[in-house]
Amino acid sequence: MKKFLAQSYIWIVLILLYSPLIFIAVFSFTESRVLGNWTGFSLKLYENLFSGGMNGSSSLMSAVKNTFIIAVIAASLSTILGTIAAIGIFNLRGRRKQTMQFLNNIPMLNPDVITGVSLFLLFVFLGFSQGYVTVILAHISFCTPYVVLSVLPRLTQLNPNTYEAALDLGATPSQALFKVLIPQLRPGMISGFFLAFTMSLDDFAVTFFTRGTIGLDTLSTYIYTDARKGGLTPELRPLMTLIFLIILVLLIILNVHQARQIKKQKKNEKISKYSAGSGFSHRLSRRS
């Protein structure tokens, strides 16, 4: 009985969480321009989305493209900057280390609006013309702390002797770095990259303030402008449905992969504290 109550509670909350998503998904299969008005089954919205036909959906696709380009560039640069920074911070001691860690925490504590407004003022102050570059710089500034936090624990787990052994065996410092250190940091770098990537994809407020007036749109800003004009572009419905399905598949793959890794790790009796779900928790801790 208790078990039944507990499980029905979980299911009720889940149904409430998913009802808007399912609602959108269902109405992506009808032609009506007004959401909630069923005019028979149709794949027309999907067709429009891909053919770029119908008013507005071509700019929708360019917004999707921008979102991805910005996320890839910002996440890559954050990963490089963050990994170098993590190696540096790891080797710092005392006051300086604390200062770096404190500074690294600021972007994570700042709400999006403040990050956006403050960067906007910076670019105004410096006289930067705002567009792609400023959005990417802004994204790097809030993504890098998460890369640092994903790489640092790897460094602590690392056996420092391997690096020195490489040097003793005649490797140059840069060889030792690329052949010994970086390969061992790779899992942290990869999870940092994906964290940065998803955060950049999801961002609205920071992009909104730093994109300037050149008409640069990401998916978030597109939706915002669209909704303010009244009425959502109907092609957003199939787009959201597809994004949802892709994420669902990715999460399943990722989880199977993680489960396998945990099994492997357990075999080796090395249970890393950065195992399953570290991605989720980082992402969740982001807005704190």
Partner: protein
């Protein structure tokens, strides 16, 4: 690797440029008038502006209500999910996190449209529903995390010593999970105050939150007043962070 400590320098410079400088500029702009002279007018304007103060109070009120609702709804979810008796699979946990990967604006709009279709009047009720909807996972996850890692022998010991399930929960499990709740509060409270867009969508523009008035001022080129409002918010963040600093320290392990 000793010499590699200077590898933190590029990031240090980056942080100074793109994190510290912008925040300093917020303070600088807040104490300037349009032509760059020092003034306190922006700050005094906020404290005498009835609308801004009312928005501020409303934002805090909604944030408190949202946080409370998230705890009330989210804690039982986290507890059930962490309890081996009721839940064996990680799939359910993933199901709770999955919606967060969908663009937040899109989810919010979908919620608003759903209310529209059901002929609900958009207003404070729907705003709260949407806020809880958006932030619930941020409350569930840290609590789940700490409950899941908790040493079950404490609860068992209490049981062995004759505590009933109710007592076990309130005297053992709940006090041990407080750091998780604290970190959940941190993740829900401040972001609620600062959201914009979400409140507009869910109330048809009827209710503005503090984030919205910051955005409106910046967008209509009232940078100095916008900066002053941001400064007010920064100070509140500073206070909340200091306030929960201890809890946060306890939580660091749990978050990871």
């Amino acid at each position: 690797m000793i010499k590699r400590s200077n590898w933190s320098i590029p990031y240090f410079i980056f942080l100074i440029l793109f994190v510290v400088m912008p925040l300093v500029l917020v303070a600088v702009f807040a104490f300037q008038d349009g032509s760059g002279r020092f003034t306190l007018a922006n700050i005094t304007r906020f404290f005498t502006d009835k609308d801004a103060l009312a928005t501020f109070a409303l934002s805090i009120e909604i944030a408190i209500e949202n946080t409370a609702l998230c705890i009330l709804i989210g804690y039982p979810v986290a507890w059930i999910l962490s309890n081996k008796k009721y839940n064996h699979s990680t799939v359910t946990i993933i199901l709770f996190i999955l919606p967060m990967w969908i663009n937040a604006l899109m989810r919010t709009l979908a919620t608003a449209e759903l209310f529209n279709m059901l002929d609900f009047n958009l207003g404070k009720g729907t705003l709260l529903y949407g806020m809880v909807y958006d932030y619930l996972p941020f409350m569930i996850y840290p609590i789940y995390n700490i409950l899941n890692k908790m040493d079950k022998s404490y609860a068992e010991a209490a049981e062995d010593l004759g505590a009933n399930p109710w007592q076990v929960f309130w005297k053992v499990t709940f006090p041990l999970s407080i750091p998780g709740v604290a970190s959940g509060i941190l993740m829900v409270f401040m972001p609620t105050v600062s959201t914009f867009a979400i409140s507009e969508f869910l109330t048809n523009g009827k209710i503005k939150l503090f984030g919205t008035i910051i955005q409106e001022n910046i967008n209509s080129s009232m940078w100095n007043y916008g900066a002053a409002l941001s400064l007010v918010m920064l100070i509140i963040i500073g206070i909340t962070t200091l306030f929960s600093h201890k809890e946060e320290e306890n939580m660091e392990e749990g978050l990871i």
